[in-house]
Symmetry: C2
Subunit: 232 residues, 2 copies
């Protein structure tokens, strides 16, 4: 390693925007949105609070940046060079978002928020462009492309948001066991509802117990895709 550097006039930049975002994502994954505090960040990066605001601005901006980083990475995952069908491509994007939220439950709230408030950002544009390109090939007439893409995106966001499990539970293990216990408790409670007032809930309590979120999500996508082919 060469130790002779010419006039290091400015201090070694030891902290970067990327580093802060990375640490933020780790905190968010571990403890949900409440766990992302400036002080936790300061300790983890052993720096001062001013340095953080210098690099990423306000906490809210950091949350946006973290969202953007994670979503962009999720959308880039596209290894297979197979030129998929339009439906396949839509499913790929949808599942990428589904999985991203499964890995980062705090994303659910933030993703919705970002799309609403920042229609110009790479998150909104990325998702719409990627999905929207397919709707023409699906047989949707040009005048309805915006409606079609919006319907798909809205469905995906809604479904994906509902599959963000017990976010920010600091009590650790929200594993498969937890998940099952949660569903068991829910279906038990549904069974106790008055049957005459809640006939539907009683009818589906069995289906609810052994459904698979991911499969159900794909079913929903298929339903929307099917409906879109009839959009004139």
């Amino acid at each position: 390693m060469t130790t002779r550097a010419r006039r290091p006039q400015r201090r070694n930049q030891v902290l970067s925007r990327e580093q802060i975002i990375e640490a933020a994502v780790e905190l968010l994954d571990a403890g949900g949105e409440g766990a992302l505090t400036v002080r936790a960040l300061v300790e983890r990066l052993s720096t001062g609070s001013g340095a953080i605001s210098y690099h990423v601005g306000k906490r809210d901006d950091l949350l946006d940046a973290a969202t953007e980083t994670v979503v962009t990475a999720a959308l880039e995952t596209k290894p297979g060079g197979v030129p998929a069908t339009p439906a396949d491509e839509i499913r790929t994007v949808a599942l990428a978002l589904f999985d991203a939220i499964a890995d980062h439950p705090w994303l659910a709230t933030r993703l919705t928020r970002q799309i609403v408030r920042n229609p110009v950002g790479p998150v909104t544009v990325g998702i719409f462009e990627r999905i929207g390109r397919q709707v023409g090939a699906l047989g949707v007439p040009r005048a309805r492309w915006f409606d079609a893409a919006s319907t798909l995106v809205h469905y995906i966001l809604g479904a994906v948001g509902q599959n963000a499990r017990i976010e920010g539970d600091p009590s650790g293990l929200d594993t498969e066991a937890d998940r099952e216990a949660f569903f068991d408790a829910a279906s038990a409670a549904w069974e106790e509802l008055a049957a005459e007032d809640y006939p539907f809930m009683h009818a589906i309590v069995g289906q609810m117990k052994d459904h698979d979120d991911r499969e159900q999500f794909l079913t929903g996508i298929a339903v929307v895709l099917d409906g879109l082919t009839h959009l004139r």
Copy 2:
């Protein structure tokens, strides 16, 4: 007024849970989730912070209670005695939620959260029961009722969440003019995207400018309903 009361052993209860929730909704409507602070509540109700926690528990519980109150009220609006078709009934529920979120933008985030975390509460059960009852009449086979109802609810939540405009903007008037300015800015930015990289965004920028959220929402519902009739 009779002034002679027999031993009012306990003080007049001057503060009620309902009053607190009502004040909370007003604060939320006026300034978004950030405006609901214990101190703001304390001042508005001229009481102490302890009284609030006594009646409604923690801030988070109050947010849940406010959500429940508003959603329940929205779902109860059912004046016409006309026994609508299944599709009509679904549209009624969907629009009730749409309008509730238009009036109370803070609901968007909270509604999702409540449905995820409290599948037993009146919000989740109310929405599912009301919508789910219709899917049988739609021609969905019984074994698919849960999938069908979930698809509808997920679409509705996703769409409705996206139509919660600039929530919690304390700068007042988020009126029609603001809304238009917002869309104009967005479409201007979309037009500036590189046409070769974002062909879809360019194709729809005109549609985006003069679309109507509510109509688009109904289109989406129609798409999903259509898809559901083919679900086997």
